[in-house]
Amino acid sequence: MTDLLIIGAGPAGIAAAVTAAEQGASVTVIDDNHAPGGQIWRGEFHGKPWYDRFQKVKLNIISDARVIAVHGNAVVIEQGAAARTIHWNKVILATGARELFLPFPGWTLPGVTGVGGLQALVKSGLVIRNKRVAVAGSGPLLLAAAAYLRAKGADLVMIAEQVPTAALMRFGMELRKHPKKLKQAAALQLQLLGVPYVRDCYVEHATGKGKLETLQFRQGSKTFTEEVDYAAIAYGFTPETELAAAFGCEILAHGVWVDKRQQTSIQNVYCAGESTGIGGVDVALLEGELAGLAACRKPTKHLLPLLAREQHFASLLNQTFSPRPGLKHLCTADTIVCRCEDVTYQVLRQQPDSRTAKLQTRCGMGPCQGRICGPANTFLFGWEQGSVRPPILPARMATLALSMTQETSS
């Protein structure tokens, strides 16, 4: 039994864990990654904010482990070939976000990855030196990832941002109210000197034999092509709410609902970071700290003004970088939308709703459990996303069986 269980060791989970441990709570952190740091600091947490405080507290960290089921006040985790249950008094969900992928012809070719996706692969050892890479889609991650890839020796062909120039200008004006962010943006620009940053531009299709070779971009009425080895393409993020749903928490369109103390609709279940809505690392850290304090019954009011300021910036980002409706028309009839089951746009277009699509076409029935095609279908067809049942992520049958029998009452 642990006082406080934290699921996810990204910025939010780390801030929550450190804060609560500093208050004297016994804290267990479970994370699907090899080391704490989440999506942004993946394997490179050393020297980042909170690292010193993190070093000083005692935490029970379980890495390479994922929560695959929730049962009362216990969670079932799978770690390699092992499975176990952990009981908790309070829990903070800090499961973060995943990238939003919008289908287009050729997006299933090997070599087409996410933006954070390619960055994550490079962080986990992919040698990108001298590879021709294009970064496209939407949002500030395009710049951050491009700078990272360049620093690792990638030959960056271009960065294509779908947002129209006028909207980017307006965003630039607003950015002046956030000097810290302005500084970060300027630093990135410096690192990307010489790499074309093309606005109002998106990838229309990708082609290649067996793997990606050529990208076709569109900018207004103009189209042009580039030969590349990798295309890192994503349209921002979508919150990872599946675990919260399994806990029974209320989920809104933008993420998990929380009150001012980060508590979800379920008592003693808190949620912090991107799973409550896309806000970036600074919001995640603040929400994590708030949740850590709240779970220890400590005052949190002093953090609210800071959070409000960061959230203002986050909403600015979300408004500016939301995908343009025109991207709905990129799919051709035979573009695959559900990559697990190879369900095409043409087939899905004929379905009245997501449940019918699921039952009649197998869309969303594969191992990603709709994590990739679900948000795409919401964008394309306005469909609601499906319900969540164990396993929350695919798991060995033994995990589902073993750990739950410990609870068997009858």
């Binding site: 070719l109 994550a120 050892g125 990739i372």
Partner: protein, 78 residues
């Protein structure tokens, strides 16, 4: 460096490399065939898309982007 085997051929990769990164770095573009036979490879890099599934040391459908390469690891694309 660690030595591992991709479809029977030996390669050396740096320690701390995931199986997915190793396979890409060693020049294999296709990780798996989709249900209609299309070539597929990692998309998300973070363990949720399941496009990086490989057979690793005999275990099918292993999420290679979440698995560290180890000495002597045997990786099969499908």
């Amino acid at each position: 460096m660690i030595e591992l085997f991709i479809n029977g051929r030996g390669f050396f990769v740096k320690e701390g490399t995931t199986a997915a990164a190793a396979v890409l770095t060693c020049g294999t573009a296709q990780f798996r065939s989709s249900v209609t036979g299309e070539p597929r490879a990692p998309l998300c890099g973070m363990g949720i898309c399941y496009e990086c599934r490989l057979t690793i040391d005999g275990v099918q459908h292993a999420r290679s982007c979440r698995i560290m390469a180890t000495e002597g690891m045997r990786i099969e694309t499908t």
